[in-house]
Amino acid sequence: MTRLMRIPFAVEALLIALLVIAFFAFPYNLAFVTRILIMVLFVLSIDLVLGFAGIATLGQAALYGTGAYAAGLFAVHVTAAPLPGLLIGMVAGAALAFLSGLVLLRTKGLTLIMLTIAVAQICQEVANKARDVTGGADGLRGIRMEPVLGLFEFDFIGITAYWYVAIVVFIVFLALKRLAAAPLGLSLRGIHESPERMLAIGAPVYRRQVLAYTLGGGIAGIAGALAAQVTQLVSLEVYSFTLSAEALIMLILGGTGRLWGAIVGVVLFMTVHHVAASADPYNWLFFIGFMVLGVVFFLPGGMIRLPQALLRLGRQR
């Protein structure tokens, strides 16, 4: 994979190829593939925050959900044009991340995890209480999106939704890839490794963590906004602990600190879930449980390490 990264535009080409293949391979499951893509975006946001900057979080749904509600309310009350809604979702996610980050990031470890959970729970409760605005547990309804750029109508099969989401995910992925190799990415990894040393080389650790968290919030916000626009309904579940936790599982499954890990983890988890749930819904938890344990024990770095692990096995033979 590292060698691949060196060829100019190899990653871009590979991604585009994957997106096109997925489009033609799953003509009837576009809605599902679209959900996978949105989840990829959401998990990427966690990867930025956790995998790069080392900020442990189990409350990323707070930012996702806020993006979703912001975009949903914007579509209902202001304009149903998708792109401005996306922007609003991003700003809302980033704003909440910034504000909550100011408090949260003074802590670390388990404390930090608890605080992120607490923020998400408060958001959920606020959305539940503000029933007149959000529809409470029944969901925010009445979102009817206009065509993308005024040209592409959201269709029944989900073709527009697919390409719309795919392009957004593609752009964000590339941006994150740049970021990962740039000074900011290196600096975040430094903070992850040793905040103490970062201070000693003059890095404003706290401020930089807030920056990373805010960026992550923006991306999570975009993911939430996409979900709101595609589903055309926002429910309280966007803030649920399960969402944060499952996304985290997907990320660790794939491998943290590597952008491809997020993609691999989401695709694997959601596909296994989808397949196992339709094959044997009552027992799919067994599959997931064994899969998760298998990955931790045999591929501690996540699925992304599979090729290396196989290579090593091959060499040992």
């Binding site: 600096s187 990894r189 201070l199 890095a203």
Partner: protein, 250 residues
């Protein structure tokens, strides 16, 4: 108003234990001062007070006449005070080059750039090469720090701090863990430092201290026992009894 680092009446205690008691120190540009003293005398504590890791109970710290007490740790580094750690603290999962690169990009204030590759600043890369060469680490540049032996890590520790191009440099036992055969790498590096840099060395290796220090401060139980030129200190009876021991009676 004077140039360099000035410490006046510094005071610090942990619970009942006083670890810094009315300490006055001047580090003018170009100074090569060694801080020695028995274990637990308060040397590391003193360096932490200056770098901002600890807050003094009383006393003043100024850099070029400017009070730096309100500054946080990171800001003091920006102001030009850097230190190496007594117990190696590196980015263990990053390569040696990345460690140095991180220091350089913080120094140059471009750590928030997110579009250009981190290794695309040619000048910095040359600087890193030079620094690695100075510590004979060329071959290890692309190794992860966690794969290096302890002594090698000590060298990286020093190289990384020098990348910051500080004005005041605090070295906390820079040679600990470096074999005698390689300790000249450390002393050479110290001797090559720019002339206007103020250096404070905390070290138990007397060979190194006597080689590089032009002035020595002896700290005992948080107080300055005496200070002076190396030969004066070596001759001081009290310092011999409390610290140097018989070996240095010659």
């Amino acid at each position: 108003m004077s140039a360099g680092l000035q410490v006046r009446g510094l005071q610090k205690s942990f619970g009942g234990i006083i670890v810094a008691d009315d300490i006055n120190v001047d580090l003018a540009p170009g100074a090569r001062v060694a801080l020695i003293g028995p274990n637990g005398a308060g040397k590391t504590t003193f360096s932490s007070l200056i770098t901002g890791k600890l807050t003094p109970n009383a006393g003043e710290i100024t850099l070029d006449g400017q009070d730096i007490r309100p500054l946080g740790e990171a800001d003091r580094v920006k102001a030009g005070i850097a230190k190496t750690f007594q117990i190696t603290t590196l980015f263990r999962d990053l390569t040696v080059r990345d460690n140095l690169r991180l220091a350089a990009q913080e120094r140059d204030g471009r750590a928030r750039a997110w579009f250009k590759r981190a290794d695309s600043w040619a000048e910095v890369e040359r600087e890193i090469d030079a620094q690695l060469a100075a510590f004979r680490l060329e071959a290890l540049g692309d190794k992860r720090v966690s794969d290096l032996a302890y002594g090698q890590q000590r060298l990286v520790e020093m190289a990384m701090t020098l990348m910051l191009k500080p004005r005041v440099l605090i070295l906390d036992e820079p040679a600990a863990g470096v074999p005698s055969s390689d300790s000249h790498l450390i002393t050479d590096a110290i001797e090559r430092l720019p002339d206007d840099l103020a250096v404070l060395i905390i070290e138990h290796d007397m060979k190194l201290v006597f080689r590089v220090a032009r002035s020595i401060i002896v700290l005992v139980n948080g107080r300055i026992l005496t200070q002076g030129a190396p030969n004066e200190i070596a001759a001081d009876e009290r310092v011999r009894d409390l610290y140097l021991g018989a070996r240095h009676h010659d």
